[in-house]
Subunit: 441 residues, 2 copies
């Protein structure tokens, strides 16, 4: 059994390890265009921001460790095409390489901002760690930066750039940060924080040109005028990296992601997909989603690897708990906020509670806001949005399971909670939000 | 409608406020033996430990606020007896006071340690805030203390005493701290911390006498010899404070707690019970439990108050999420650990996972251990135990709901989780523990 994997990120390496777990004798070959695998790209903004002192700390495993576990990683190696009839991939410098099973874990790219000037120097797409190391040196002498659309990584970069003393302007066509995901009341503390830190924000505006006469960026044209800048951070949304799959005639969905079944099998029974190049149905709406987290990519990769190697595992529709640090705040949620649910035409009831994370007199206590959305018929939880100082990740995980398991507002309104001054307040804001929702009906 | 409430803690005040919410015209009278209501007794150990700078910060509301909300609190006033036939209570200085509905929220006392010398000075039962203010002055000149049994408050006091530079010896008949609640592997990091801090621990030993010739404590006799000490902290378990209820012939259960139905009604339809003087069935075993948290007491009080005032609310069996700070660690859980489940004769499968709370390279990352217990037939979660550096309260709340809702190990093994370096790790330890449990079968 020979399993070829295209992509060395969380999905590709997850698939490789899981395939070896099922079939230790399988030949597992991973192709990556990059110099490295097994590092945490999600950590890059925090090294730029100096929260983490070195890019070296982002590496999870050494190349030697992969060799020892029998996974053959080919670095800086591009796969040019897939020949499904011959069951081969065409690899630069290797020619036609055969496979029994192929796993496509080719990841994502930033959407093209679609404006002139993207070939200038001074334009940074935060993604690859080697490029990040080079850019980190550039940041030392950068005076002012424009963030072109405020996606998740770009939001982390705003804070990082401020920490580096760089003047930052965010230009985003939405009415507030991450308007496709987050409700305005939830993100308001972050926006206010940024304002206090001197970040300039142009909401509802677009970048129209990346400008610079001599090959290097000097200014950014927007629908609100010109901004002097020696750096532009591309923060557009993720798009699936699927030119190979498309050329091979594999079925792609409405998001551009590979369509996969519960085993992560594509429209070709010998080819699996995993991670950001696939699309996965949402558990409530069954609408396909693309561009989830590294944790999703890893779980999908494991599922693909297990099935590719002859094992059995199903991946399931997703409810998408998410969360991140944004300035001094943690924001997060599950599935939908009010904005997205409304845009999707979903009917819902919602209610919000303000709470605190510890006893109000205990050091380190932080505010927390929880908003719950429930379907109007059975009052089952369908989404949540949160902003606070701690405990956002854990609550998002909880509420994602609540959504999946069909937990009702009534159940959350009567939930028990830990009360101990140093670690939790008398009233749990999830429960209070549920009580408020019931009271509002 | 006149509602009389005995007790001014979380249960009593919860009942008073909820009764007023249902029937604003109700006459609501609260009797308390103490000088204050509406403070957080749970915060006392942390003021002693200097994490919180003043006892004043523990007060939640002023006496004026209760007057304004129409709740008539009688301070330092003892209720001597209940005459159920006449529907009156006999109150010191007031004589027979009639009621339409009575709520007993009389709370708890430390179990009598059952040894000679409890009348000596130098013996501190951590409970009332006025006494705590006085004892806090005493702590300034205290050299060495013995903690007589390591209940939850006593465990917090160990840390507090160490923070005050006091030499501490813990004497407890159990084989490790809180052995009736916590498993040894979970509490081991706490024990190791205490050892590092110089705390002496006599596990499996009993105090046999509190000794002192001149009326003040000078030493403590134990089954392992004599300990010089000028302070003893009583840390025995909570017992329901029910002499009034017993004298009135109300039905008490095996724990000594008032037996109540789902509306918190006692065996007398005009009398309700709430808080630590009641017993509540456990959701899995239906075994009655007593001595839960302030959060439970408050929710029970609200239920009792609502029903006493003519409204309708049910309280339900409990799954008891719990948690606390212990040294540098947070410990917590839901329902049972292996020790208690085994003692109760429950059959279960269990598995443990070691994890981390953030990306391993992110500042502030802490280890976390999660143990899950599941019933052997359907693999539904029946209990959990945890120790870690952060996120214990939120996970305990989650797993308490999981236990109540019948969530299975398979569901937790495939749960989604937030991955973002600053707030959550790639792998959620709850999920890994569930995966480990499935793998062990």
């Amino acid at each position: 059994m020979k399993i070829v994997i295209i992509g060395g990120g969380a999905a590709g390496l997850g698939a490789a390890g899981a395939a070896k777990g099922v079939d230790p004798d399988a030949e597992v070959v991973v192709y990556t265009e990059y110099e490295d695998v097994a590092y945490s790209p999600c950590g890059i903004p925090f090294v730029h921001g100096k929260e983490i002192d070195s890019f070296d700390r982002l590496f999870l495993a050494t190349k030697e460790q992969y060799i020892q576990s029998g996974i053959d990683v080919h670095y800086e190696t591009t796969v040019r095409s897939i020949d499904r009839a011959a069951k081969t991939v065409e690899v630069d410098g290797e020619g036609a390489v055969s496979y029994d099973r192929l796993v496509i874990a080719a990841g994502w790219n930033y959407a093209d901002p679609g404006v002139p000037g993207t070939d200038l120097s001074g334009i940074y797409e935060v993604k690859n760690i080697r490029r990040a190391m080079e850019w980190d040196v550039v940041l030392d002498s950068t005076k002012s930066a424009v963030v072109v659309e405020a996606g998740a990584i770009a939001m982390e970069m705003v804070t990082a750039l401020v920490h580096r003393g760089i003047e930052v302007t965010v230009v985003d066509p939405g009415p507030w940060p991450m308007a496709d995901v987050i409700d305005p009341d939830i993100v308001e503390p972050v926006r206010a924080d940024w304002e206090k830190l001197g970040v300039k924000m142009l909401w509802g505006h677009k970048v129209t040109e990346l400008g610079g006469g001599t090959g290097a960026l000097t200014h950014v044209e927007t629908t609100d005028g010109t901004i002097e800048a020696d750096l532009a951070i591309i923060g557009t949304h993720k798009v699936p990296n699927n030119p190979l799959a498309m050329a091979a005639g594999l079925k792609l969905g409405t998001t551009g992601g590979l369509v996969v079944d519960a085993t992560m099998q594509t429209s070709d029974p010998d080819i699996y997909g995993a991670g950001d190049c696939t699309e996965i149905p949402h558990g409530v709406t069954m609408i396909p989603l693309q561009g989830l987290s590294g944790s999703h990519a890893y779980a999908q990769g494991k599922t693909a690897g297990i099935n590719a190697a002859g094992g059995t595992r199903d991946y399931r529709p997703v409810y998408v708990p998410w969360g991140m640090l944004a300035g001094e705040w943690m924001i997060g949620g599950v599935s939908f906020g009010e904005t997205l649910a409304t845009a999707l035409g979903l009917e819902f009831h919602s209610a919000t509670a303000q709470g605190i994370t510890r006893a109000r007199y205990y050091p380190g206590v932080r505010p927390i806001t929880v908003k719950l959305l429930a379907d109007p018929d059975e009052l089952r939880i369908i989404g949540a949005q949160m902003v606070g100082g701690e405990g956002i990740k854990e609550r998002a995980d909880f509420l994602a399971m609540a959504t999946r398991a069909g937990i009702t507002v009534e159940q959350l309104a009567t939930m028990e909670n830990v009360y101990s001054p140093a670690i939790g307040a008398l009233n749990e804001p999830i429960s209070v939000a549920a009580q408020n929702l019931l009271a509002s009906l």
